[in-house]
Structures are given as structure tokens and as C-alpha cells.
Symmetry: C2
Subunit: 215 residues, 2 copies
Amino acid sequence: MITSFEAATDIIEFGPQLSLRGVRMHFARNAEIFGEGEEAEYVYRVVSGAVRTMRFTSDGRRQILGFHLPGDIFGVEIGDTHSLSAEAVSGCDVVLVRRSCVDKAVSENTGAARALLTLTSEHLSSARAHALVLGRKGAGERVAAFLLELAGRFVSKNELDLPMSRADIADYLGLTIETVSRAFSEFERECAIALPSSRHVVMRNPSALMHYEAA
Amino acid sequence: MITSFEAATDIIEFGPQLSLRGVRMHFARNAEIFGEGEEAEYVYRVVSGAVRTMRFTSDGRRQILGFHLPGDIFGVEIGDTHSLSAEAVSGCDVVLVRRSCVDKAVSENTGAARALLTLTSEHLSSARAHALVLGRKGAGERVAAFLLELAGRFVSKNELDLPMSRADIADYLGLTIETVSRAFSEFERECAIALPSSRHVVMRNPSALMHYEAA
DNA sequence: CGGGCGATTGATTGCCTTCAAACGTGGTGG
DNA sequence: CCACCACGTTTGAAGGCAATCAATCGCCCG
């Protein structure tokens, strides 16, 4: 479901002090948006669909570092190359703004600089929350935390359409597909959630989920 | 060992564009420097010793998010409260600069804003590297990565004095004390390191460690 | 010399992964 | 329109790795 008012503009709003016009692009499911090590030529904002950012170990294991939903900005770098890769989870529309435009705004305007600082700080905050989950939580707790995190983004809705596969969730939570699937099944068995289809989650008892989360 | 030239000044240098004078304080081993949720009144820089920043799950499990060595800045927040806690790993000297001074510099000077942005971006980068380790690496790989990370900070020295206990390392790597200890023992058995004492590590064969790290 | 704390080592448990198979669903071609 | 195929998901069984439980060791300080 695309919110049309968002689709109607090609602006990236970094904050009240910094809005820049960009161009819109569409990416097919699983298409690469940028790769780790590539020159960071643009900054990105999700208009519709979902994006994953990730990094790989040398032997090919994938760690998804974040999912990005409509309104989210990603691909922001200070150095001149991307420190991670980004792919479309589903078909999605993305707005691109040239790095040079962002840099120009930042160097001319402390408000712009502050907006970018706030954004980076929020990214840091979620990366730390993620590290806590990965370092100190069991499988059920991780999946519960994931569902609650996602539910918190869909304002006052107790139903979720997951854009990502079980494999994506597993690679985000540092688990395997099977373990994620088992956690979903257990939550359903305990009536914490309902699963009309594998991608559609009904939050039947969020407080039970919070109990699983135990954090 | 305290590097006296650093101890000679009470300045926090955020970057070439932003240096601020502060006051020095000493903290005893395990003393709290600030707590999660407290008002973020200062920004901190390690002069000597080591500091850990951490967060807790609701049931008391601890995740150390970073170790901070001489020269490192920590406790930087955009919101008005600390999002994590900080304690002295060893007895240490720390320089404090008032948040209001930092905010003032940032709002007056885009160079200052850029320095703070660069700093936050570096913190983000290490948080992401940490998440990759926590999410997708086994016990031996984590410990090897930790040793190499620390070794990379002590320029061209192949000997390390660990300021932190096995418990600290375990809580940083999402492991237990016993597992960390076993990894050290195995590395020693394989002649990748030597352990003249439990806190003193000699890097006997860094490339063997890199092989263990497998990333 | 004794006490306490951190570290190491060993034995066992338990959770998550791995391996394996079946299920369901959506898309395609006959 | 239906059969079939491919892929994602679920479920089951077995194995492995790290946690837990437990005991000993070593060291620093009193």
C-alpha cells in the first residue's frame, strides 16, 4: 500500500532545516541499490516498499543491519564510499539526492548540519539497540523484539504486512530461517499473534510478546 | 601506563575545527561516570585508563557497547539524556566538556558541526561492525576479532595490556566468561598468542588470528 | 599465611543449527 | 482452466556449540 501524498513528491526531508529535491527511481525486488565499497554518490529515501542494508563476512554470511520503510533515509556516508550494501526487499520507489547537494547544504548552513547530525545519531541509536538484541537475547526474544519494533512503526495498527522473507528476518536477527519460523509458530500457538498468511501478522496480544521480549 | 603529553592538557579535540577546554576528573575502577537516562550534561574524553559504555536488558543482562581508550570521546548525545551508561574499567582520568559549550559551537560554526557529525558517523560505523560480529560470528571468531580490533589501536605494537576483565570481554562479545577464557587458551595452544599473564597478550601470529576471525 | 576475587578447566545441559522432508502458494505453460 | 513447478515456509529429528554448573588454580593484598 503506497501512501499517495508521499509518492507525490521527490523531496528528501532530513529535518525541518533541510529538504532537498531529488530524482525518483524504481527498484525491482532484490535489486541492488548500492554496494559496499562503491562510491557514495547519493543519499536515499524510501518512498514505497522496503529496503535492507547489510554487510557480509568474508565467508559469505550475511548480516542485515536495518530495514528501511517509507520515509526512512539510508545510504548516508561521511567518507566517500558506502560502508554497507542496500537492496530492495520488495519492489520499491526511492528518491535519490546527490551527495554534493547534501554536502553543500551542510557546509553553508548549521541547521542543515544539525539535521544530518540528528539523523546519524538516530541511526547510531538503532544500531546500538540492535547490538543489545544480538548480543544478549535468545531466539524467541529476538523475534518478539523484531515484531514489536516493526509494529511500533505502523502507527496504532495491530496488523502487519511483513515485506521481508523469513530469511531476511533471520539475517537481521542473527538466527536461521527455521528458528525464526519456529518462533512465529510458537507465538501463534500461545495466541500472542495470528498468522493468516506467512507475511501477514495480527498482533493478538502485544503484552504477551513484550513478555517474550524480556527486555 | 599514562602518556604524559595527553595528561598535560584538558582539551577535547573533536576534530581540526573544534577543540574545547574542559575539566579533568578521576574515576576509580568500576565507578559510574554517567547512567542511562540521566541528563546528558557533559561530553567526555578519555585521558588515561579505559571506559566501558553499556546497556542492560530488563532482566539485568549486560551488553557492553564499546570500550574507550585514551583519546576517545564518549557520552555524546543529541537528545537531552544519556542513552547508555558509562563506567571506569580501570582507574582513569577523563576530561569533561559541558554540553552547552558543544551545542553553542555547533550552532555557530559549520566546521564544528561537521566535526561532531564525523565523530558520530565513526561511532555508527563501529556499532555496525560490532553488530556484524554479534550477529554472524562464532565464539572463537568473536574473540579473535576483539583482539585484532584492540591490537589495531596500539600502533605497531604486538603486545597488549588488556585493561578489562574476562567478564567485560564476554559482555562485549555476547559470550560467557568461560567461553572467552577457552578461546584465549585455544589461541595460546595454537601459538597464535602468548599469555604471560591473563591481562597481557603477546600477538605471536596475527595472521593465524585473522584466520580464526574469518571475516 | 590466609582470604578473596578473577581466571581456567572439566562435565553436563540445553538451545539453536543443521539436515531432511513435506507443505502451501503463486505463477506459468499446456 | 487446470496441472505442474519453483520457491518460501513449516515441521521434525539429530547434532554441535556455547551456556551452565562445578571445582580448582593462581594471584594480589591484607
